[in-house]
Symmetry: C6
C-alpha cells in the first residue's frame, strides 16, 4: 500500500479532526479496498441515523488519539 500516514501532528485541532476522519475511513479501506463497493455502501449509511452515529463514534475515538498526539494543541 502507498504511504498515506506520515505523522499524527497537525497545526490546528480542525486539521486533527479531519485526520481522524481519514483514519476512520482507512480502517474501513483495509478491510474493503474496492472503491466501487465502498461508494455504494457509503450511499447507504450516509442516509441512516445509525450508520452516521456509528461513523461519528469511530471518528471520536481516532480524534482522541490525534488530540493526545498533539498535546491537545495547547498553547
Amino acid at each position: 500500500m502507498d504511504t498515506w500516514l506520515d505523522s499524527l501532528i497537525t497545526e490546528t485541532p480542525q486539521q486533527g479532526f479531519e485526520l481522524a476522519i481519514t483514519l476512520s475511513r482507512r480502517g474501513v479501506k483495509y478491510t474493503q479496498p474496492d472503491p466501487e463497493v465502498l461508494k455504494e455502501l457509503r450511499a447507504h449509511y450516509a442516509n441512516s441515523a445509525e450508520g452516521l452515529t456509528a461513523a461519528s463514534h469511530v471518528v471520536a475515538l481516532n480524534f482522541q488519539t490525534v488530540a493526545a498526539a498533539n498535546n491537545y494543541w495547547r498553547k
Copy 2:
C-alpha cells in the same frame, strides 16, 4: 470547509460538554453534509431510545478528549 474548530480549550466544563456535542455533530456532518437529510434523520433518532443513547455515547467520548485538553478544569 469553513473553520469551525480553533481550540479545545473552554472556560467551564459545561462549555466543554457543549463543544463535545459540536464535535459529535461534525463527525456526522463530514459524512452527510446535506442539512435536509440531517434534519430528517435527527427527527427520527431523537425519538428513539437507542438513537439517543448512541448519541450520548459519542458525546461521552468527545467529552473525554475535551476534558483532558482542559486538565479537567481543575483549579
Copy 3:
C-alpha cells in the same frame, strides 16, 4: 441553557459516579429536550436488557472522565 455543570470535582467516588449519570442524561437531553418524550422513552429502555446495558456503557465512559478529573480520589 441553564448552568448545570460547574465542576467535575466531587468529594467521593460515589458522587463522581452519580455525576457520570448526570452527564449521560444530559448527553441525551441536548438532542431531545422534550421531557415528555424522554419520559416515554425511558419507560421503554428501562425494561430492555440492551437499553440498560447501553445506558451503563455511557455511564462507564463518563465515569472514566470524572474519575480522572478527581485523580481517582486517591488519598
Copy 4:
C-alpha cells in the same frame, strides 16, 4: 441511595475486576432500580451471546478506570 462506593482502591487486580463488575451493575440499577425487573432481564441476557458480550464490554471499561486508579497494582 445508600453508600455503596467508598473507594476505587483494591488490594489485588482480581478485586479490582470484581469492583468493575459492581460498577457496571450499578450503572444499570440507577436507571432501573426494581430488583424484580432486573432479575427477569438478567435471565434473558445471560443466555444471549450479544447480551453477555455487551456486559463484558462495560466491565472492560470500568476495569480500565479501576486499574488506572490502582496504578495497575504495580509493585
Copy 5:
C-alpha cells in the same frame, strides 16, 4: 470464586494480549457461570461476523489496560 488474576504484568506483548482475552472471557463468566450455556453460546457467536467483531472489541479494550500496566513493554 477462585483466584484467577494475580497480576497484570506479563513478559511479552503477546502474553499481554492473551491476558486481555482471559479478562474478556471472565467478564462474561461472572454474568453467566454455567459452562454448558457458555459452550453453546460460543458455538453461535464464533460463526457470526458481528459476534466475532464484538469479541475482538472487548479484547481491544482489555488490551489497552494490560498494555498500559506494562508500560507498553518498552525496553
Copy 6:
C-alpha cells in the same frame, strides 16, 4: 500458538496503524481459529456498512494503544 507479537513499537504511524489491524484480526482469530470460517465471514461483513464500521471501530481502539506505546511517533 506461534509468536506473532514481539513488540508494539513501529517506525512510522502507518506501520502502527497496520499493526492495529493485525491486533484486531488476532482478536477474532483467538475466538474462531478456522481459516475457512473466517474467510466466509469476511466476505460477508466486507460488504456490509455496519460490519465495516464495526471493524474500523476495533482498529481505532487498537491504534490508540499502539500510538500511545510509540509516544505518538513525536520527533
